[in-house]
């Protein structure tokens, strides 16, 4: 079986490839790049005017299985992923039971194989049951396929334990992904601390709750030599701390999410629980700083923090609503609209942050190279569309971005040489 992509702009930042050419996929792998004539029974896709990039990677997804299948499961989550142009996703360990041992890691991979859509790379818990007491069986989880380690939204408070956990991970050269939040300073707040929170009567979370934790973890990364990846950066201060740390040679990378360069805390006005996320949406100044960080390379990765929640978990009092929003099916459109079309970063830079950069951090194969698995996303950078949560493949619809008009979408998502989604619709 051969699949021929005709006439697209092939863009792969991992090897400085950017040219208009045909791409031939044969038996699930990249076979040839150049001027290629179709054979009689080839599947041919005319991708003239479109951009052919390595399969997008989302390194921050909550798949909710096992344990919270009413929000999402591996199948629905991977369907959402391919609809949004992602061929690989990394799954956070806050499942039930927690992904803190090899059997859960293998279970998630098995479920992903059964679904047969996007590739799923489990992120193991750093400590048993995410409790911050004892280090989990990291070596065994790596043997089972875990690619990184994180205690997710339950960051380790104890700096001594964090140091040992990072020392331990450094032994395997695996990254530690940290949700940076000083919980005592955040003090069960619901939104960004500031004038709007004061007016709405909602308890705020100061930026410093994130920044203090970023700084601490940067210092522990420096102490241990462990690779630190800071999740969902949301403040100017965090960007500045990480920028300085990189200059100082600390092994730190970081991500932000589309919501942090698209929305401000104003989205909370009217008590929209879909805008309740953690870290919270911040100010226009923070959004500007996030964009600067994306532009100057301080921020390596665009990830989604796809956090599905059921309707009843959001259709409630603001204080009681769960934190998080879905993102798999809007991320590419937001990155293209808010960053590329808006002139903040180039298309190549956006693609780098959604392909080569997360692949490097997680140690994944990625890139349009002869012999590589043909995980390919074809992007129509000019496709105009409107976000309609009712059409999401995710089981959950929690986003404050419904009705938003975006420019740019995935027109083909190809996993292992098979077209699994076309124009945001799953066809596998």
């Amino acid at each position: 079986m051969r699949l021929l992509l005709k006439g697209g702009r092939i863009l792969d930042t991992s090897q400085g490839l950017d040219k208009v050419a045909d791409l031939l996929i044969e038996d699930g792998v990249v076979a040839e790049i150049g001027s290629i004539t179709a054979k009689a029974d080839d599947q041919v896709e005319d991708v003239t005017g479109k951009v052919v990039v390595p399969g997008l990677i989302d390194m921050h997804v909550h798949l909710r299985e096992p344990g919270f299948e009413h929000k999402e499961d591996v199948r629905s989550g991977t369907r959402a992923a391919i609809a949004g142009g992602f061929t690989s996703i990394a799954a956070m360990p806050n499942t039930k039971p927690v992904t803190d041992n090899r059997s859960v890691v293998e279970f998630i991979r098995m479920r992903a194989a059964e679904a047969g859509l996007a590739r799923v790379h489990p992120i193991g818990a750093l400590t048993k049951e995410l409790k911050g007491d004892e280090i989990a069986e990291i070596g065994d989880m790596i043997a089972g396929g875990a690619v990184a380690f994180s205690d997710d939204a339950f960051p380790i408070e104890n700096a001594g334990l964090m140091r040992r956990a990072m020392d331990y991970c450094a032994m395997f050269d695996k990254p530690v992904i940290v949700h940076c939040e000083d919980k005592a300073l955040a003090d069960d707040g619901f939104m960004n601390e500031g004038l709007l929170a004061t007016i709405l009567g909602l308890k705020g979370i100061p930026r410093e709750a994130e920044e203090i934790a970023v700084y601490r973890n940067v210092m522990i990364a420096n102490l241990t030599g462990c690779r630190l990846h800071v999740a969902h950066v949301s403040t100017r201060g965090s960007v500045e701390i990480i920028r300085q740390a990189k200059e100082d040679g600390v092994t730190v990378t970081c991500e932000t999410c589309p919501q942090y360069f698209t929305l401000t805390e104003d989205a909370v006005k009217g008590y929209d629980t879909n805008a309740k996320i953690n870290p919270p949406l911040r100010s226009a100044d923070d959004v500007a700083a996030i964009k600067e960080g994306l532009a100057d390379g301080t921020i390596d990765v665009i990830a989604t923090d796809h956090a599905p929640h059921a309707i009843e978990e959001k259709e409630t009092e603001f204080a009681y609503a769960f934190c998080g929003m879905v993102g798999l099916e809007t991320a590419l459109g937001l990155a293209l609209t808010e960053l590329v079309h808006a002139g903040v970063i180039s298309l190549a830079s956006a693609i780098e942050k959604m392909t080569a950069a997360p692949a490097r951090i997680l140690g994944l194969e990625n890139g349009i190279k002869i012999g590589n698995a043909a995980d390919i996303t074809v992007i129509d950078p000019d496709a105009k569309w409107t976000v309609d949560p009712a059409k999401f493949y995710s089981k959950s619809k929690n986003t404050p971005l419904g009705g938003r008009e975006l420019i740019g979408a995935a027109s083909l998502t190809i996993v292992g040489g098979r077209v699994v989604a076309r124009n945001n619709e799953v066809i596998a």
Partner: protein, 312 residues
């Protein structure tokens, strides 16, 4: 006359014209409270539900009396005796009550924005009787009515709100209402109880009581919650009382004809000294009476006919 809005959720979103209309209507309704037969047929056949998720004596009673004087039927739901204790969500509670066809909901809830959530969900009127730390619009209105009665005006006055501003919906409603009506507002309290970026609100902020009271026309004293020490917001009630308790001596900094308000219930000897609480400068009981008048006005302006209020 009628308010051109479905809900009363807060004073932030109200215009000064609307506030003026409510206060004038309340003044004309106050006459009814002085009658021997306190009943007019204005809202006969309309029904009102009070749903209080937090304990309240004065606000709930005040709303119920206001509705009854206007001949509306009232039902009151206390979550501790309702299916809320069985785990029913706010959404389902409201949809269930709605199915019994009331015209208006009066709601108090511990979460900021709870009344907004309900108001968005249903077509019936909603009056916010206090939502978390957000707003308590009827308290703001009755405080303004009390000030207006004593001072003959609101515009040009300086009002100091003293105490736990951070957690206070009363402070927020007073601030919006008073500033819209042309008064100057000062927030006075320990820094731990002043909300973040309060200086960017249309107010002046003081952490020194004497400076905060200097030359003011009105002092609105907030209740200090006794559990605030546990969160490290205050070292002790003793220190609070020494630094921020309103005594006769402290009031000397204010204008000679200063008046004192308190939304109740009072902690005598903590935020307000008995000598002030029992002095004619303190309008606590007048505030309660005005509360009934203000709530009558709101019910009338939301549910009533197009006739002038005075005709009721």
């Amino acid at each position: 006359m009628r308010l051109k809005r479905k809900d009363i959720l807060g004073l932030e979103e109200m215009s000064s014209d609307e506030i003026e209309l409510i206060l004038q209507t309340a003044l004309s309704f106050k006459e009814i409270l002085g009658r021997q037969i306190k009943k007019v047929p204005t809202l006969r056949g309309r029904s009102v539900v009070t749903l209080f998720y937090e304990p309240s004596t004065r606000t709930r009673t005040s709303f119920e009396l206001a509705a009854k004087i206007l001949s509306a039927d009232t039902s009151s739901i206390a979550p501790s005796t309702s299916s809320v204790v069985k785990g029913e969500s706010l959404k389902d509670t409201i949809l269930t009550l709605r199915a019994m066809k009331p015209d208006l909901f009066i709601m108090r809830h511990q979460c900021s924005g709870a009344a907004h959530f309900v108001a968005k969900m249903i077509p019936e009127h909603v009056i916010n009787a206090g939502d978390g730390m957000h707003e308590h619009p009827t308290q703001g209105l009755l405080d303004m009515l009390s000030i207006h009665e004593k001072k003959g005006k609101i515009s040009g006055l300086t009002v100091a709100i003293v105490g736990d501003i951070l957690h206070s919906r009363v402070a927020r409603s007073n601030m919006w209402g008073l500033t819209k009506m042309g008064a100057k507002v000062r927030l006075v309290g320990p820094k731990t109880l002043i909300p973040p970026e309060a200086r960017n609100l249309p107010v002046e902020v003081y952490t020194n009581l004497e400076e905060g009271l200097k030359g003011v026309d009105v002092v609105n004293v907030l209740r200090i919650q006794l559990e605030r020490m546990k969160k490290g917001l205050l070292p002790s009630l003793r220190e609070y009382s020494t630094m921020f308790g309103i005594s006769k001596e402290r009031l000397k900094a204010a204008k000679d004809d200063v008046i004192v308000l308190h939304p109740g219930p009072m902690n005598r000897g903590v935020e307000i000294m008995p000598e002030v609480a029992d002095d004619p400068v303190c309008l606590v009981t007048e505030q309660v009476t005005n509360g009934v008048a203000v709530r009558m006005a709101l019910l009338y302006l939301l549910l009533g006919g197009t006739e002038d209020a005075a005709a009721a």
